[in-house]
């Protein structure tokens, strides 16, 4: 089943064309990796897909409806986005912040119930923040804040996950933990995800499909086996790339 569709999207920002005529179908059960050099417009594309900014031309469809016509609340029940930066200004607790994921599911005067709290605690556990429930978010380290933001996203339970560099600030253990959890959502709940990544090898390990942004509006999309090879990666990052075989498949190294 198709969860999110981009139809002939033209997006540009400050005179730079990010994509021309982009057609993309995110089906349930797919894990897309979004690759491209720094500043090529990955975040802007994700924002467009989340309905946070309008494209120059074309349309984004969520559950077969144009996202521009959907109210934010309806969007939030179907689609969630992990932003690249997470800055907490006010002193809320970790548990309170995880619970904000329930916001689109609750009415104005409705309070979170036992079920909502159970979901929040489960998500906090999933990102390895157990025991931090009462801590203030302003005192968290960069990596901890990042994991908490991901926990809120899990609590929100959207079927479409847009992840802007989900492994930013995370150590190896937690990178794997978060990516495993995304994979689990995709396999068990038939969710789908699109993750902007800088680590090509995370994409090689987890993604089923790849979208590459080359700049000047050029893009390429397809199954991971077709796109992840030294030739396309060299074209994408403008640097020599070597591949090595490991026990879990082909991996890539930047050459000199």
């Amino acid at each position: 089943m198709t969860a999110l569709v981009c139809k002939s999207l033209d997006i540009s920002i400050a005179g730079n064309t990010i994509c021309n005529n982009l057609d993309l179908k995110l089906e349930r059960g797919q894990f897309w990796g979004l690759l491209g050099p720094n500043g090529i417009g990955k975040t802007t594309l994700l924002k467009c897909m989340a309905g946070l900014m309008p494209p120059d031309a074309g349309n984004v469809y969520l559950a077969n409806q144009s996202i521009e016509k959907l109210p934010r609340r309806a969007i939030a029940r179907l689609l969630g986005m992990l932003q690249q930066h997470t800055v907490y200004v006010f002193d809320a607790s970790v548990l309170e912040t995880a619970l904000t994921g329930r916001h689109p599911h609750l009415g104005h005067w409705q309070r979170e119930g036992a079920d909502d709290k159970r979901k929040a605690l489960e998500a906090i556990k999933a990102v390895d923040l157990e025991g931090f429930e009462a801590r203030s978010v302003t005192g968290l380290s960069g990596g901890e804040a990042r994991r908490l933001a991901f926990a809120s996203l899990l609590v929100q339970e959207p079927a479409v996950l847009l992840l802007d560099e989900p492994t930013n600030h995370l150590d190896m253990k937690h990178q794997v933990r978060i990516m495993n959890r995304v994979e689990q959502q995709i396999n068990q709940q038939q969710h789908c995800a699109l993750a902007a990544l800088h680590d090509v090898n995370l994409a090689a390990r987890y993604c089923s499909h790849i979208l590459m942004l080359f700049g000047n509006g050029l893009w390429q999309a397809g199954p991971v086996a077709e796109l992840l090879n030294p030739a396309t990666l060299e074209k994408l990052y403008q640097c020599p790339v070597e591949s090595v075989q490991t026990s879990t498949g082909e991996r890539f190294l930047a050459g000199g």
Binding site: R73, F90, E96, T100, H103
Partner: protein, 296 residues
């Protein structure tokens, strides 16, 4: 006055002390409570709106507009009963100016609102200085009292209680949205809040509350800054608890400050704003220092 006599006076409104309590003290205490409650609530809203825990209800120039209108009224000898209306008028004019200029044609911008508000506020400040320097000496005292915030002549028209109640209920209904908005506009949108509308609703609620409070008691400082901050430390940042707590305690804080203002140098009365500032400034610096240590 001993307790027994005090109770007797309350039970007997026609006696001399009874009249004092029912005609003077209680209305004044009620006015103080309402003003404190409104300023504290407005402070909570303004802090979320500007996403800054150190914002206060006056930062966007609401009190400046009120002050200018009231001082002009004093200069031209307008009847005292009309002054609150002038203050309300001035405050709303300032709100409309800031609202109109900051809104422009583009999307919401917190920075633009803050800059517009701060510049407008300093514009009012200049006008206030101009009025003060041109005023005859005998009216200066009243003006200074008003500028500091003063409850000596405060009356509480019934409609202000309606404003207080209405804004309180609305704010409480938005409380969870405020929690989400406190995490940033984009986060709030991603969690299903149509922030384009919400931010203006929050701004207008905060402005109406401030304008009403200023029309009753002049620009009483620091209540709207200190009380939300203290309450955050005490009950946490969940606005469903913070808003009622700040409202109640804001009222209490101003009632106590006003009692001090009446009694410290009795029989001479001080403007209550002097007391709130004397209590508020050290408290604020302490909190600011604490925030800096935590790296905010």
């Amino acid at each position: 006055m001993p307790w027994g006599e005090w109770l007797g006076a309350i039970g007997n409104p026609d006696s001399q002390s009874g009249e004092l309590i029912w005609q003077l003290r209680l209305p004044r205490a009620l006015a103080a409570w309402a003003v404190g409650a409104m300023l504290a609530m407005s402070g909570c809203l303004m802090q979320v709106l500007l996403r800054n825990p150190l914002a206060d209800p006056y930062v966007l120039g609401v009190s400046g507009g009120a002050a200018c209108a009231t001082l002009l009224g004093l200069v031209f000898g307008v009847a005292v009963a009309l002054l609150p209306w002038l203050a309300l008028f001035g405050a709303l004019v300032s709100v409309l100016i800031v609202f109109g200029l900051a809104r422009g044609t583009g999307p919401w911008s917190g920075t633009r609102l803050l800059l517009t508000g701060v510049v407008t506020a300093s514009g009012w400040g200049a006008l206030i200085s101009l009025i003060l320097s041109l005023s005859p000496d005998n009216s200066l005292r009243g003006m200074l009292f008003w500028l500091m915030g003063d409850l000596s002549y405060a009356v509480l028209p019934p409609w202000t209680l309606l404003v207080l109640t209405g804004c309180f209920v609305l704010t409480l209904g938005l409380a969870r949205s405020l929690n989400v908005l406190a995490m940033g506009e984009t986060t709030a949108r991603l969690l299903g809040e149509p922030t384009g509308h919400l931010l203006w609703v929050v701004y207008l609620l905060a402005s109406v509350l401030t304008a009403t409070a200023v029309s009753i008691a002049g620009s009483v400082g620091f209540v709207g800054l200190i009380v939300p901050h203290l309450m955050r430390l005490l009950v946490g940042s969940d606005h469903r608890i913070l808003i009622p707590a700040a409202t109640l305690f804001g009222g209490l804080f101003l009632v106590l400050s006003d009692t001090l203002a009446r009694t410290v140098l009795s029989p001479q009365q001080l403007p209550v704003g002097v007391i709130t500032a004397l209590l508020g400034v050290p408290l604020f610096l302490l909190l600011l220092n604490r925030a800096r240590l935590k790296g905010v």
